[in-house]
Subunit: 342 residues, 2 copies
């Protein structure tokens, strides 16, 4: 009999802490019969939240682990790392390190999570810098994009490593044999872009990845590419720009449907269609960013995630456990190294 | 009596050349009574296009200027600059340089246009690098964003100059006394971002601009800021990402309204509302990017612009002429220099 998969959840971080993580945990347990969850944080606080949902707690598949501190959402990574050794974030990562948990999910401060994860779990051999990767909706499917903010300036080798990690994640999560990998640039021609992007393109040309060349910002959403690689500054700006555009469009669409009585009536009729449409690009469905390149699995949930969104981030962690993403990355890098030295 | 404003139009560049520029020119002449246009390019080609619109040509306000060459859309800037001295683009810029035209509008290759404009018109004293600025829709109005691709890597001083130029353009075009200027970054905290962005923030804090601090990608569209400053790589990716998101949303919205017969009927009823909505964020309304920092006015139209969109780009050139944008930038920079040395 297989032992159940165990996921540690930081139950204190994020905008709503246990108020979101506890109902999300119950949702996960009802979705997956063989999953065990460890809720990490102030046990009194977690128990009082659990009491509000009494009767729905799964038998023996939910345990509490105490942590006396919480990393604040705006706390500098260094201060979290040095001063919060008993934070819910750190204890959750320790559980992954010790093998008690197979992965952890945390809605806390991204910078602190990345710094702590790197310190506790360590990077894989051959990875200089871990990266943050998330999937975003695209025409006909979705696209994985990395880095999203962990590394502001990247050289060619870093971008190459991101491409390897993103390709393995996409392949594992989406079950595609050879994900199409593109380098984000400002033109498709070889002469465009910074030196590090051009050099990364040359490394990728020679690799065994399904590298399709430079892609432009619009192609992230066109369904032409499965993995988009960029530095963390550009990735972060691009992702937040996308949120901004979507919000503006929703704003004007709503306003137009409210601008007169006849339009309001049409709006009422169109409500089910508009809701179905909204669901297709619902950011909650895409919640959960993977910290890739570590010797362990850590998934970052959005700080403002609700229970449904947080549960989706846990599902991503479960997929990465099932597909053994860190060891897949590790063996791919080892093969590259063997080829290079043979 | 004021002499009429004269705008030179490159009638050969862009995806459709004279096929778009000639009808756009006629649209501009009918909109503005005192504007004079110079159509630059192969006069035979332009005349045959004009013949298709006979009877609508304005009396004496439309003149042709011959140019024997055309810069190709994918031609490297250096080759255009050295090898196409009689291109429609170059001749249009020469007309601005000689004073025969007050501004020029061109739908050609951005890199070649910027390189040629810089060579022909020269930069303003105190400007190291011209930048490309466009306005994009935002909640409650629009936002000016620069640089959009002329300068891939920028130091603090370049970003500062972009902020000055963008602020003056926004002030002139939108008649706002003190446009809110933000630096695009990946967080609002002072510790975030590259060294050049942080240093530019310090320069802006000390300036007389209405600097509101770092802004994130989503704020480009939120209506909180009038001018967003970034390097050309980030600006280009951000703008193209926005196009991609908008296209994906339109795709899913259309698909949802076609997914069943009842939904199709609702879609039919909703058509006028959806059309009104589309018009509000119609990219054609936002066509026309300003090349700022030059001793003259040059506006870049989108290569794929139609006549309506091209005419909007001409309107932007007219506004910049009326508000004397280059000399406003020049005197602002001169004041800064005087203050710094006094």
């Amino acid at each position: 009999m297989n032992s159940p998969v165990t996921i540690a959840l930081d139950a204190m971080s994020g905008d709503s802490g246990a108020g979101v993580v506890v109902p999300a945990a119950l949702k996960v347990l009802s979705r997956h019969n063989s999953v065990r969850l460890l809720l990490v944080g102030d046990t009194a606080r977690i128990e009082s939240e659990l009491a509000r949902h009494s009767g729905r707690v799964a038998e023996g598949r939910l345990e509490l682990r105490h942590a006396s501190q919480v990393v604040a959402m705006d706390e500098p990574p260094g201060s979290a790392l040095r001063g919060k050794k008993d934070s819910s974030m750190r204890v959750a990562l320790n559980l992954v390190k010790s093998g008690e948990a197979d992965a952890c999910v945390c809605a806390g401060n991204t910078g602190a999570l990345m710094a702590t994860a790197r310190y506790v779990l360590k990077t894989l051999p051959g990875i200089d810098r871990p990266a943050i990767c998330t999937s975003i909706p695209a025409i006909g499917g979705h696209t994985h994009m990395l880095d999203l903010g962990a590394n502001l300036e990247c050289d060619a080798e870093h971008l190459f490593q991101f491409a390897v990690m993103g390709s393995i994640l996409a392949s594992a999560v989406d079950s595609i044999a050879a994900p199409r990998v593109g380098l984000l640039n400002i033109g498709a021609e070889d002469i465009k872009g910074s030196e590090s992007i051009k050099a990364a393109g040359q490394l990728l040309e020679r690799s065994d990845l399904n590298y399709i060349g430079f892609v432009e910002g619009n192609q992230i959403y066109s369904g032409e590419v499965d993995v988009v690689v960029c530095d963390g500054f550009v990735g972060n700006v691009s992702l937040k720009t996308s949120e901004g555009v979507a919000k503006m469009i929703a704003h004007y669409l709503r306003e137009e449907f409210r601008s007169s009585l006849p339009k309001k009536l049409v709006g009422l009729l169109a409500t089910p269609v508009l809701n179905a449409f909204k669901q297709r690009i619902d950011p909650r469905r895409y919640n959960g960013a993977s910290l890739l390149g570590l010797q362990g699995i850590a998934v970052k949930s959005h700080g403002g995630a609700d229970a449904l969104a947080f549960a989706n981030a846990v599902d991503i962690a479960l997929l990465e456990v099932a597909k053994r993403v860190p060891s897949m990355i590790d063996s791919h890098l080892e093969n590259l190294l063997t080829e290079a030295t043979s």
